[in-house]
């Protein structure tokens, strides 16, 4: 049951962030094309039918959502780097407690942010603010903070339990991320 839930969560997470990435790129590309086509004599009248003034705002929101959920995905892939001089220099049992401490800090911080995020979203919901260009309710936009951060907290706890159980940490091959795709 839990395993099925985790697998579904992994998939949703991956599709969300890849989707946000693609959508943001296409939106800005379309906006640039649209602006350039306005200068072309036979095209501008078609171009004038569309309005892309909201493109930048949408791109920013998409990327912030991508960043919040992607950061959670990053915990799973072990891409968040820390300073490991001390960790690699000490005896194994001290090393173990340092790693447990680091992961707990991660879980605590992201958990705290999630709680603060809920408070903030609640406050914004009360003000009824909307975004300047898209006129989306701002509390929906800000939802990425509590949602992303609690997912990230969950990921830290997952990595922590796996480490306590079998001593494994996710390792990311730095910069060679491209090879995952090959």
């Amino acid at each position: 049951m839990i395993r099925a839930f985790n697998r579904a969560l992994d998939h949703v997470e991956e599709w969300l962030i890849a989707g946000f990435m693609a959508a943001a790129t296409l939106v800005i590309f379309a906006a640039v094309l649209h602006r350039q086509s306005a200068a072309v004599p036979w095209l501008w009248q078609y171009a004038a039918a569309f309005n892309f003034s909201w493109a930048q705002e949408l791109c920013i929101y998409l990327f912030i959502w991508m960043a919040k959920f992607g950061a959670a995905y990053g915990v799973r892939t072990g891409i968040h780097l820390g300073v490991d001089v001390l960790v690699n220099a000490v005896r194994p049992n001290i090393r173990r407690s340092l790693i447990v401490a680091a992961l707990s800090f991660g879980a605590f911080f992201t958990g705290a942010i999630a709680v603060m995020g809920v408070r903030w979203v609640w406050f914004i919901h009360g003000t009824g603010q909307t975004s300047p260009d898209l006129e989306m309710p701002m509390w929906v936009v800000y939802l990425c903070i509590p949602l992303g951060s609690s997912l990230m907290c969950y990921r830290f706890l997952q990595v922590l339990t796996r480490f306590l159980r079998c001593g494994e940490l996710p390792v990311h091959t730095l910069g060679a991320g491209a090879e995952e795709t090959a």
Binding site: F63, A71, D84, G106, M116, A176, A178, E180
Partner: protein, 428 residues
């Protein structure tokens, strides 16, 4: 006093191996909770900053360039660029090595990341060089070092981060990197040429004019990206962020439809891998912005700036201290974190001393290049050891002579501002 407290908390967290982004954020929360007049208002400011800190179109050039770099690395573009570079300089003494440097230079003009450049060029050139009889150590050193050109030659992700964190113009900083980048590439080639002559490395037969033309035509669509990005920015057609988005779409088309290095069904994996890297960078940026909010509200940059003025440091002494501090920081952290934490502190001081922030940006970038080929956290070393199947220590030793070359070059860039500033002053 508060500055010392903040520093102690941050260092303690960093030493446990907590990810840098988390350590920065935790420092802010800990300090606010324990040592300041804590109120719910501050909590709200923190939550708001987590979002609004990123709410800038300029920052979004980072994920776009990461995406375009990921497409370029896998898309079969590197192979064409290498063929063209080989046709141009392969016949010289140390031709293969010089071609590798030239290919890294070309690749750097379309990609904004150093490790990506090492992967793209190194995974093809390294086996080729070793097969041709080049010493393995020398080959690894050359590739790892010239890969670091990726962040000096525009576009550059490190430069965008510097521009964002100091409110400088990314476009101007890009232009400032052109001359230093070409100069460094030339320096690396010269050293390689001289080494090749004395140690008698193999040469290749001279390529025919036809081969040069054919290989140029084949690499043309990849190299066009330089024209689109740089021409677009300076022609006023689009902003750096839009240029990055266009270059991502262009790289996608080149990789999937023109060179067919990638299949359409592999594209989601590319998107995911790019999202992974850029979310990590954006997460560091968010927390670094929180951290500098804490520093500013404690008035630490001002105090530090005042302290430097009181010491009556001359600009050149400040620059020595700055380079030593940055090189030391480069021992522990990767470039984006260093720049995000230190640039907002250093730029006000530099301004006071009459040092151009654009020049400072180039100095910091060259500094970061050294950090990338130096243990323990040099990203290029990790990548190179991965593709060369060599241990990290051995790769580090291979790069050591080149570290000294870059150090000498850093001195040159630091004390001859004209190298960086001549072109931007001409254009802006």
């Amino acid at each position: 006093m508060n500055a010392a407290l903040i520093l102690v908390i941050l260092l303690a967290l960093l030493l446990t191996g907590t990810p840098i982004s988390i350590a920065l954020g935790m420092t802010v929360l800990t300090f606010l909770a324990l040592f300041s007049s804590f109120s719910l208002d501050t909590v709200d400011i923190v939550s708001q900053r987590l979002f609004t800190g990123l709410e800038s179109f300029a920052i979004m050039a980072v994920p776009f360039f990461v995406l375009s770099g990921t497409f370029l690395t896998d898309g079969g573009i590197a192979r064409r660029i290498i063929r063209f570079a080989l046709a141009l300089v392969g016949w010289m003494h140390g031709g293969l090595a010089i071609a590798a440097i030239l290919a890294c230079t070309f690749f750097a003009t379309i990609s904004g990341s150093s490790p990506a450049t090492v992967v793209a060029i190194g995974s093809i050139m390294l086996p080729a060089m070793i097969k041709q009889g080049y010493p393995k150590r020398f080959s690894v050193g050359v590739i790892t070092t010239s890969g670091s050109l990726g962040i000096l030659i525009p576009p550059s992700i490190v430069m965008i981060i510097y521009a964002v964190s100091t409110s400088e113009s990314a476009g101007k900083l890009f232009v400032a990197g052109i001359v230093p980048g070409i100069l460094l590439a030339a320096l690396l080639m010269l050293i390689t040429y001289l080494t090749a002559r004395t140690r008698n490395f193999p040469t290749l037969p001279r390529a025919s004019g036809r081969e040069i033309w054919v290989s140029f035509k084949d690499a043309f669509w990849g190299l066009m990206l330089v024209v689109i990005v740089m021409g677009g920015i300076y022609g006023g057609i689009f902003t750096p962020t839009e240029a990055a988005a266009v270059s991502a779409v262009y790289a996608f088309i080149a990789a999937v439809f023109i060179y067919r290095g990638l299949k359409l069904r592999q594209v989601p994996r590319v998107l995911l891998s790019a999202a992974n890297t850029s979310a990590m960078l954006l997460y560091i940026i968010t927390n670094a912005i929180l951290f500098s909010f804490l520093l500013t509200s404690e008035q630490i940059p001002q105090a530090l700036s005042q302290w430097v003025v009181d010491q009556q440091l001359s600009p050149w002494m400040f620059l020595v201290a700055l380079n030593v501090a940055l090189l030391a920081a480069g021992q522990f952290m990767e470039p984006s974190s260093i720049i995000l934490i230190l640039a907002p502190l250093l730029v006000p001081i530099a301004r006071n001393l009459g040092i151009d922030p654009i020049h400072l940006g180039v100095v910091m970038t060259v500094n970061m290049e050294i950090g990338m080929i130096h243990p323990p956290v040099g990203l290029n070393l990790f990548v190179a050891s991965h593709i060369a199947k060599m241990g990290l220590t051995e790769v580090s030793i291979a790069c050591l002579p080149w570290v000294f070359v870059l150090l000498a070059y850093l001195v040159l860039i630091t004390y001859v501002p004209a190298i960086s500033l001549w072109l931007p002053n001409l254009l802006y």
